[in-house]
């Protein structure tokens, strides 16, 4: 099918332009890949990424649309067939794109690349670009397509319909498990950003009353005036960022907002519970409006700043930590870079969105390419910007911010000595000067990625838009990250609560009533207790919690992607497209290899910082032989239990993936051999009435 662009442009010119894009992209990619030792300009990353996405969109997604999925513009979409003005609404493609992008872009693509930068810029950058073009974008596109052809059904329903009961149950439990881990790890990121930082804590705290005020405004004062409410809220948020500096300057006020990790964790837990049981209009919905605007505004500003500034990337292409000794998380570059960067390259979570609201809005099936493939390419671009922001820092500073105290030492002098000995020189004065500029007491051991990203963003923003406000930019970046992390905490807790109510409702029907308060409280409590447990013990973990929780989250997210790709592959095979099934089967195979080897290492590696079990056994032995004393001895039994719990979860994810893969293979074989298997549930072709200029059959 010829695309619109080539119809408008004379063919030789179009060909010349695309050859030009290919050459520029290849040159940029080659430049950053082959460069050793010299600083690279951030612009090359942008060029390489944009050219590859453009080529992927123009050619690979066109191939998927025309040959593999055979998008049919004459076929009525669910939005047209069930148009009810509410869930199913035929909507302008740009508007759907905006909704879809706002829904899929969360904190993941910002944090993952920041952590993965410990391997150097190259592994993460290549995985983001290649993974998105051949994996993530394809997954989102195909999941969206499958859902459109199935009346907008969800991933869980499709898994049950196409793969049978086992597949459906695995998908459901998988989603619930990933929610719990995701919320815990994101909560930990916010807590680490606020630890002993009155400015950050007060600004983040202020987002709660601001959201409530906007909620009341949009509910009672000016019902439904979303833009007015959001504009007021954004102004108040910016005032809160400035106000934080004033609180920070006053010794009394500052003591009200100065907390350590565990105390902040308890507050986030309490907040999460409140947000899950309060009516959505009061806190969740207005916070979401604010965070969406902030998110899109800041991402656009960051892109503009990077283009204006062309910052130099100081991180080497590869560091010695590709051997698995990295301070931020243990494990070799394979498979751990592919686990650490999930969102941004391929994220199973997107399949939930692509089979949720979005398929009910598409006015024309043809738009699935633009929205499914295109929105993921943009999200991946956000991950590239996060990678640049992490890599413009001096590597010594980057490692000083992100290395846990348990590894490099709690004293500043010890930490800089260890980090400098790795070949990344940094001094105590440099770190103190930086902390002072950013308006923080210290920037040592601020693990989780948010503070180092904020330092990177603040230096980019202040160089591009005015040098004097470094501390304000830093806290703006922290507020921006915290705002949408907390939105994910709220929304995720709520969704997990609904799912749990549904699950328990199978046994006790009254529990399934989403408005019955005893059930709401009990199920919210269970969900919050689940993620709260991991969050709280993450804050007292001497290695910083992120070290064990982020890989667990990555494995869970990739597992969900594997589920989505299993469903997609099955559907392709059943609809007679077996010769094209590799488009989803290859990314699936890669994910299975990556998740299995990562899970295997997390379970059985002898390296104490990688293997959960060896770490537990080592601690147990130290405890038994009396090598631990004081607080360490008191904490040890809890840490041992947590390690074993993490190991059990990893094993569960591993088994889930393999059950799904075996089920997929079984169903596909049956379909190919013409034996009995669950039939394809694609809905019949109904001609669209919205396409006026089309000759209908």
């Amino acid at each position: 099918m010829p695309s619109k662009e080539t119809n408008q442009m004379p063919r030789p010119i179009a060909i010349a332009i695309w050859i030009g894009v290919a050459i520029v992209g290849a040159a940029a990619l080659g430049g950053i890949a082959l460069n050793r030792g010299e600083p690279v300009n951030g612009m090359w990353f942008i060029l390489a990424a944009v050219c590859v996405y453009a080529l992927g969109y123009r050619f690979y997604s066109a191939f998927l649309a025309a040959k593999v999925l055979a998008l049919d513009p004459t076929r009525a979409t669910p939005a047209e067939r069930f148009s009810d003005g509410r869930d199913f609404v035929p909507t302008n493609r740009w508007v759907v794109f905006g909704h879809h992008f706002a829904a899929i872009a969360g904190p993941g693509p910002l944090i993952g690349p920041t952590l993965a930068a410990q391997f150097g810029y190259l592994p993460g950058t290549l995985w983001i670009i290649v993974g998105a073009t051949l994996g993530g974008c394809v997954q989102d596109f195909v999941a969206l397509f499958c859902s459109i052809r199935r009346d907008g059904r969800s991933l869980g329903q499709m898994a049950r319909d196409e793969l049978g009961l086992v597949g459906g149950a695995a998908a459901l439990v998988g989603v619930l498990a990933i929610m719990i881990i995701l919320i815990a790890v994101l909560g930990l990121v916010v807590v680490n950003a606020m630890r002993h930082s009155p400015w950050a804590t007060s600004t983040v705290a202020a987002t709660i009353p601001i959201a409530i005020m906007i909620g009341l405004f949009m509910r009672h004062l000016r019902p439904g005036r979303v833009l007015e409410g959001t504009a007021i809220g954004v102004v108040l948020l910016l005032l809160a960022v400035f106000g934080g500096s004033w609180i920070d300057a006053s010794p009394t006020l500052r003591s009200w907002f100065d907390y350590d990790g565990p105390a902040l964790a308890l507050m986030v837990i309490l907040y999460g519970f409140a947000a899950a049981v309060l009516p959505v209009w009061l806190l969740l919905a207005p916070r979401d409006y604010l965070s969406t605007f902030m998110k899109i505004g800041t991402i656009v500003a960051l892109a503009i700043a990077i283009v204006i500034l062309n910052p130099e990337v100081k991180m080497p292409a590869l560091t010695q930590f590709t051997d698995g000794t990295g301070p931020i998380f243990g494990g070799k570059v394979f498979p751990f870079v592919f686990i650490t960067i999930a969102c941004g390259a391929i994220s199973g979570f997107h399949a939930l969105i692509a089979s949720g609201t979005t398929p009910k809005l598409l006015a024309n099936e043809r738009d699935a390419r633009f929205i499914g493939y295109g929105a993921m390419a943009v999200e991946s671009f956000v991950a590239i910007m996060a990678m640049i922001a992490a890599c413009v820092l001096d590597p010594g500073v980057y490692f000083a911010i992100n290395s846990p105290a348990g590894l490099v030492g709690a004293q500043a002098a010890d930490a800089v000595a260890v980090i400098s000995s790795w070949g990344f020189p940094v001094t105590v004065e440099q770190m103190q000067g930086l902390a002072r500029e950013m308006g923080e007491a210290t920037l040592f051991a601020r693990t989780g990625g948010a503070p180092s990203l904020a330092v990177g963003m603040a230096s980019i923003f202040s160089s591009a838009f005015g040098d004097s406000l470094l501390a304000v930019w830093y806290h703006f970046a922290i507020m921006f990250e915290a705002l949408f992390i907390l939105t994910t905490v709220d929304a995720g807790t709520r969704v997990a609560r609904f799912m749990l109510q549904d699950l328990i409702g199978n046994v006790f029907p009254s529990m399934a009533r989403t408005s019955w308060y005893p059930s709401v409280l009990a199920c919210s409590g269970l969900v919050v207790a689940g993620w709260g447990y991991f969050l709280y013990f993450g804050t007292i973990d001497p290695l910083g919690g992120i070290n064990s929780l982020w890989p667990l989250f990555g494995i869970a997210n990739q597992m969900l992607a594997a589920i989505a790709l299993c469903v997609a592959t099955t559907i392709l095979v059943k609809s007679g497209k077996a010769r094209f099934a590799w488009v989803t089967a290859l990314p699936l195979a890669w994910l299975v290899v990556v998740t299995s080897s990562a899970a295997w290492e997390k379970l059985f590696s002898a390296d104490l910082r990688v293997g959960f079990l060896s770490h537990a056994n080592d601690l147990a032995e130290q405890l038994a032989t009396g090598k631990l004393a004081g607080a360490a001895a008191e904490q040890a039994p809890r840490l041992i239990f947590n390690d074993r719990l993490d190991a059990a979860l990893t094993l569960f994810f591993l088994i889930t993936v393999w059950v799904l893969v075996v089920e997929t293979a079984r169903v596909c074989r049956a379909a190919l051999a013409g034996k009995s298997c669950p039939p394809s549930t694609e809905t019949a072709h109904v001609p669209s009435r919205l396409v006026e200029d089309w000759v209908r059959d």
């Binding site: 003005g85 509410r86 302008n92 740009w94 949009m218 979303v226 919905a285 939930l352």
Partner: protein, 61 residues
């Protein structure tokens, strides 16, 4: 230029849901007015809309 600005404003309103009520009224007049249903007022519509919007997975990592 002004028509372009207007178009952008319209897309922004639609994207943010600012014009949701107007769209609802238009849809109701087109499809449900004859059947004698009740047209919700702005506050009631917004209430219902928010409750409905937040059931299910709406935000990602």
């Amino acid at each position: 230029m002004t028509s372009w600005a207007k178009r952008c404003w319209a897309v922004l309103r639609e994207m943010s849901g600012d014009d949701a009520y107007e769209r609802y009224v238009a849809h109701w007049r087109a499809s449900h007015a004859e059947s004698g249903g009740v047209l919700l007022d702005r506050a009631a519509f917004f209430k219902e809309e928010q409750r409905r919007k937040w059931e299910g997975v709406k935000r990602c990592c």
